[in-house]
Amino acid sequence: MAVTRERLTRALAPKVVAVIGDKKASGYNWLRSMKEFDGPVYSVQVDESEIPGIEELGIPNYKSLTDIPDQVDFAVCAVPRQVAPFIVQGCVEANVGGVTLFTSGFAETGEDIGVELQNKIFEIADPAGLALIGPNCMGLHVPGLGVRFNRDQPAGVQGNIGFVSQSGTHGMNFSLTGAAQGLYCSTLVSFGNGIILEAADYLEYLADDPQTEVIGMYIEGARDGQRLFRTLREVAAKKPVIIWKGGQTEGGGRAIRSHTASLASDQAIWEAMITQVGAVAVHNLDEMIDVVKATLLTKRTQGNRLGLIAMTGGQSVVLTDAFEKAGWKVPTLSDESYAQLSEFFNIIGGSYRNPLDAAGTIGQDPKHLDTIFDILDADENIDAVGMELSATFMARRWQDKPEEFDRLIGSLKRFMAESDKPFLAALHPSHVEEAALTARKRLQEEGIATFPSFERAANALRKASALAAVS
């Protein structure tokens, strides 16, 4: 029986939560992670020796799910695999909306007993329409409701990124590393073996979820590839989808006698599928974060011509190289732009052909940065603007004279507010990282798309733009 949307919504946006089988040996990780949950949290534990520790946390414990005097929407289950089928049966009897089975040791082991237990769980959960997440997964993270599976994950903040992950680690890392860069999830699901609900089910939910603006997915393989393909095609037409495919599956031992079959590697087919559905492919966590960031924080352009502002001549050269390698053009500006720039631009130790080597000019009068932005905004040869923020030269100065940094932020925000052209910044790691850190934090709080290298900035903007071209 298919899981209904109502049941899935109860599970993924719960009002009442239960944690089954948490114990001292695991540091009560699951119960502690639910500390910030926006509603009642109950514990289910039969082991008498564990109950006092749970009650010390201020969480009421019950011996069974059905004893809980409340309708549980979402349960987390961390019991040994032999017990898991009984817990799933209990969830069905207590009409729980959905349950995360953190428990592992099922079909992923390849052992007969693991496969048997997994089949048993399926036989119980499937006819009941139970929204079962996993097994062998980290489950659910909804920062807006305080649902977490790791205590470092954010709570009390409404995010806008939907994330579906076949791996618990990559899902967790996305939520943690993303949050450290100001990117928060609306709903994140790590679905592991996905025996009842698989990637396509969560994608459909996120496509309709009003909080979700962009969807990221980490996936290694699909049980029903055609369903995933068709679902992605529909979902990516509604929202930007960014896919990180991990691992290579075996082509199988079949005899290949055609050119076509010999060239159809797993990698080639997945990349083609991602292009075909109108999503973009990324290849690691950093790239996932970069492209999500660019998608959320920069405006969209169909053009590929950049105006670049750098702080030194050397950087202006490699900044240009990085963007051109990623498929951007750094063209000459219009005659009007050059006429305007020639009136104030300091060409001693600077230049304004494009890129604009502008440290001297801005140093002379910070208002010049606004003028440069206005010129680039009006220039019909330019579709987007990038800027190097040099930690090496500026971070100490920003620390000593915060008003100068405020002024810079003001100029960037003014351009972002007034121009339709996307803007992004690069702030490389430097020798004064402790000073640069404050600047990074501030840029992030102000919603300015900032990347740690030119290459990452160029790639992120290119992929975000490819998504825009589809929708």
């Binding site: 590839g225 055609q226 393909f229 006698r257 087919i269």
Partner: protein, 231 residues
């Protein structure tokens, strides 16, 4: 349409002959050079007279996968005298290169007017099912692996995009004396193959190699179909 497949299954063959493959494709509306099987030189001469010279002769045998490797192909045969000479020459070469190979005969087909050589293909992916491939023929596909894939079913937009996705695309727009290829004809052949793959789950692998992409259309000159191992 399934007759060809049923016959191959009955004979416990998974590799279709060029004649069979082209028959299946022609029934599906794919533009292929008309190809007939001849059991004797006289039969070949009568086919050639109907199809019109110049023609090509190719060996047809379940035992032979790569026809050119055994000298089993003669192209550009201008007349009946040439045809009879070629018939004997192929039989002599194949007998030397593949002694004991059981021949069904030779296929006769008119020489197609050349164009840019492209390859279109189908394979089955473990996770996504049938997948289509497009690329330029020859060195582009074999050495550079410059090909584009799409999952079946294709939408018209997919066909348009995959033709333009390959690095060698400018060749199709007209390059060094090769006239521009009719891209719409290639795209519609891709869409036909998408339908063909959906309608024939028995087809494990298919190569149309080469397809001549000319200004006036596209035609598959050679076709290879491998069926799935179980019916």
């Amino acid at each position: 349409m399934t007759d060809v497949i049923a016959a191959a299954r009955a004979a416990q063959r998974t590799l279709l002959s060029e004649v069979e493959a082209k028959q299946l494709l022609a029934e599906a509306g794919v533009n292929v050079t008309e190809t007939r099987l001849a059991a004797s030189a006289d039969e070949a001469a009568s086919h050639a007279a109907e199809l019109g010279y110049p023609v090509a002769l190719k060996v047809v045998s379940d035992a032979i996968t790569h026809k050119t490797d055994v000298g089993g192909v003669e192209l550009g045969i201008a007349d009946e005298a040439g045809l009879r000479t070629a018939w004997d020459a192929i039989h002599a070469r194949v007998a030397g290169a593949a002694p004991g190979a059981d021949l069904q005969g030779l296929s006769v087909q008119p020489m197609a007017e050349p164009g840019a050589e492209v390859i279109l293909g189908i394979t089955q992916d473990q996770q996504f099912g049938p997948v289509l491939m497009f690329g330029l023929g020859g060195v582009f596909v074999e050495v550079l692996k410059d090909v584009a894939f799409r999952i079946v079913p294709l939408e018209p937009r997919d066909a348009t995009e995959m033709v333009r996705e390959i690095q060698g695309f400018p060749v199709l727009e007209g390059f060094r004396g090769t006239p521009a290829a009719n891209l719409e004809a290639i795209e519609s052949m891709l869409l036909q193959l998408s339908e063909f793959a959906e309608a024939n789950p028995d087809v494990a692998e298919l190569d149309l190699n080469p397809v001549f992409a000319r200004p006036d259309g596209a035609v598959a000159v050679d076709a290879r179909i491998l069926l799935t191992s179980e019916a």
